[in-house]
């Protein structure tokens, strides 16, 4: 089995599904000859031709809207938005149309599209290249929101997303694109879109996170282990609809929960998890659910981004709060 990076796993999944299903098309800026600015689509135009791998004009609203039209008319478009900071102009199409085509036509039509976009900070990029918009997408009815954190997840979840009969927003952690490799068997096997992943088992505290922050959270679990605390690490992976059961089961065992997210705190997805865990897990909770998140300030440019994003230290501190909580 090959050792691949997360972005290579994306590429594998795309090639695999385009081979298997000829209705799959890829569209976006620079996805053809250039292979995408992160090379996620590299080689696809040579294998599948420019009719199925479309370099589009520079207009994200158009990309999303065309994907809706393609999906309704029988294709399975996989659209790439170059950075999620440029995905806000797709919201109208996703919320008002992609997520409603099936509903508003009472099942006469459907919209099986995927919108892929890199997310998150930590790569010293220019403005708007480090956004974390997952909460906004997770608030929208009728869609799925997926955010893998490893090559294997990326491969299996992207296959599932493309095969899913409904629209899927597929967020990719830029920071992890090339951070590490993993064995990924290119066997066309999808992973489920309705469950979170238990990355590490533990009994003292449940750390819940997703996307790019999984990396720091695992490091925080390591640090906690050195102190003698066994942290359970859950990767939500599919944020909408999300698997609250696994999270609650874990918190029932540990009694403590920290939710980690690099997005701004107010009305972020960390608040959603914290609210649900607090609502359904109050009896098992021995401490309030801690949110370790980005601040409610603008994601700074490169020179301060490290100060903005939750660090291993901040996650550990959050865990200490939960573990040492005495009210």
């Amino acid at each position: 089995m090959p050792q691949v990076t997360l972005v290579e796993a994306i590429n594998l999944a795309l090639a695999s599904e385009m081979t298997r299903d000829e209705t799959v098309v890829v569209l976006g800026q620079d996805v053809g000859r250039d292979g995408g600015v992160f090379r996620a689509t590299i080689g696809l135009v040579d294998k599948f031709g420019a009719e199925r791998v479309l370099d589009t004009p520079l207009a994200e609203g158009m990309i999303a809207g065309m994907a809706v039209g393609m999906a309704v008319e029988g294709l399975k478009p996989v659209a790439e938005i170059q950075f999620s900071g440029f995905a806000y102009t797709t919201i109208d199409q996703i919320l008002n149309h992609a997520g409603r085509m099936r509903y508003r036509t009472r099942g006469r039509m459907s919209c099986p599209m995927v919108l892929r976009t890199p997310c998150g900070g930590g790569i010293h990029a220019p403005e708007h290249h480090s956004e974390s918009p997952e909460a906004m997408f997770a608030h929208m009815p009728g869609i799925r929101v997926v955010y893998p954190s490893s090559p294997r997840q990326a491969y299996g979840l992207l296959l599932a997303a493309i095969r899913d009969p409904d629209p899927v927003i597929f967020l990719e952690p830029t920071r992890l694109y090339r951070l590490f490799r993993e064995e990924v068997e290119d066997d066309g096997a999808a992973l489920p879109l309705d469950s979170c992943f238990t990355l590490r088992e533990g009994t003292d505290v449940t750390l819940v996170t997703w996307g790019g922050m999984v990396h720091e959270t695992l490091a925080a679990a390591d640090a906690l282990a050195e102190e003698g605390y066994a942290a359970e690490v859950l990767d939500v992976a599919t944020l909408k609809p999300y698997d609250i059961e696994t999270i609650l089961a874990s918190v029932a065992r540990t009694g403590r929960c920290v939710v980690v997210s690099e997005a701004p705190r107010t009305a972020g997805f960390a608040s959603e998890i914290a609210a649900a865990v607090s609502e359904h897990g109050l009896l098992s909770l021995m401490a309030p659910v801690q949110r370790v998140t980005g601040y409610d300030s603008v994601m700074p440019l490169a020179r301060l981004e490290k100060q903005y994003m939750p660090s291993v230290e901040r996650i550990v501190a959050g865990a200490h709060q939960a573990i040492g909580w005495a009210g």
């Binding site: 809207g65 393609m70 294709l75 109208d92 509903y103 508003r104 009472r106 409904d166 309705d194 999300y242």
Partner: protein
């Protein structure tokens, strides 16, 4: 400073506002039976439209957007399209919808606030009404791309209003159509008003047709109150699109004779004189006058037609009124192909609440 590119916008009219023929007529228009058939559709549209307003006024329908004055465009488009073409529309294209097979009952359901009204038995592949202005312009490009990719001899028609041409989506959709030479016809029904905003305030462009120049696609103007002209330019544009000749933009000049919707009062912002002048150019009378002059129509036939239209509309109203309210469970049907387990509890809660409420209501 030599010119590197030149453009012009042409205007087509075959039947002037007095119902008199102008120019060299296309073949179909020389066949009075065909014109009579289209005239019948126009009268049916007007009958349906008046009834929908009446239903709204009596609390039996929600807010409704009348099509009064735009029947020539709609009969022209409706008759030029083939059943396997794809139609994308706004809320003011019910006439085209009827011609394509959408049931009046479905339209009434839709305008009453019932999603089942968009589950057209026929035509299955037409898009539902797009309320967010111009968002469907890029859907149209996507659908046309799919059709082109599969090498099907079908075309897509995207209808929108004059106001819609100000929106970026319209431009992005046109640009996509040009870039990939898609089988797509944009039909701008320029009825001079976007709610209270007159055409002149939408854009400094002298014509709306010239907006297509920005996307490099063939663009022209047509008298939208002239059934024959609309039908002819649509025929040509659709034939070219189906044959792989690429997209076009047609600006059809008409006038919104009614209020914007039943929630609007147009007398607040436009003069009675302007409306009276527009009535002189209205499309239905124009065809009737021509047909009468040509000896192809008369009073008895008109009376029979009116009766027939009324009966058909009335039957549809009854069908509509007989349709039971949707079940609360519908809120969770067709949300996803299969309802995710995570939503089960919300669904149960909604059903319990509904049962409790209806129990309380019946007690």
């Amino acid at each position: 400073m030599e010119p590197v590119a030149r453009f012009e916008i042409r205007y087509t009219q075959f039947l002037d506002e007095h119902g008199r023929a102008a120019g060299e007529w296309p073949a179909f228009a020389r066949d009075n039976d065909q014109l009579v058939d289209l005239y019948r559709w126009m009268v049916l549209m007007r009958t349906y439209d008046a009834k929908a307003i009446a239903l709204q006024r009596t609390g039996q329908l929600g807010t409704y957007a009348p099509i009064l004055g735009q029947e020539a465009i709609q009969a022209g488009v409706g008759s030029a399209m083939r059943s396997d073409d794809v139609f994308l529309m706004t809320y003011r294209e019910q006439g085209v919808q009827l011609m394509r097979g959408v049931l009046m009952k479905e339209l009434f359901l839709y305008w009453s606030g019932d999603e089942r009204g968009s589950d057209y038995a026929v035509p299955r592949r037409d898009f539902p009404i797009c309320i967010t202005i111009a968002a469907h312009a890029t859907h149209a490009a996507g659908a046309a791309y799919a059709i082109k990719l599969r090498r099907e001899p079908r075309a897509v028609v995207c209808a929108l209003g004059d106001g819609a041409t100000s929106k970026g989506d319209f431009y992005e959709g046109m640009n996509a159509a040009g870039t990939w030479q898609l089988p797509l016809v944009f039909l701008v029904a320029n009825n001079q008003w976007a709610i209270s905003v007159p055409r002149s305030a939408q854009s400094a462009a002298a014509t709306l047709a010239q907006k297509g120049i920005a996307a490099g696609i063939p663009s022209e103007q047509v008298d939208g109150n002239d059934l024959i002209a609309v039908r002819e330019v649509m025929d040509r544009a659709l034939a070219r699109a189906r044959a792989g000749g690429g997209p076009s933009l047609i600006e059809a000049i008409t006038y919104r004779l009614s209020d914007h919707t039943t929630a609007d009062d147009a007398s607040r912002y436009r003069s009675a004189d302007e409306v009276a002048a527009a009535w002189k150019r209205e499309p239905v009378l124009r065809v009737r006058n021509y047909l009468i002059a040509a000896g192809a129509w008369d009073k008895p036939r008109e009376e029979a037609l009116v009766r027939d239209c009324n009966e058909r509309v009335q039957a549809a109203v009854q069908d509509y009124l007989d349709t039971p309210l949707p079940d609360p469970a519908a809120m969770f049907e067709h949300l996803y192909a299969t309802l995710p387990a995570a939503l089960d509890s919300q669904r149960s809660e909604a059903l319990e609440r509904a049962a409790a409420a209806s129990h309380a209501g019946s007690a």
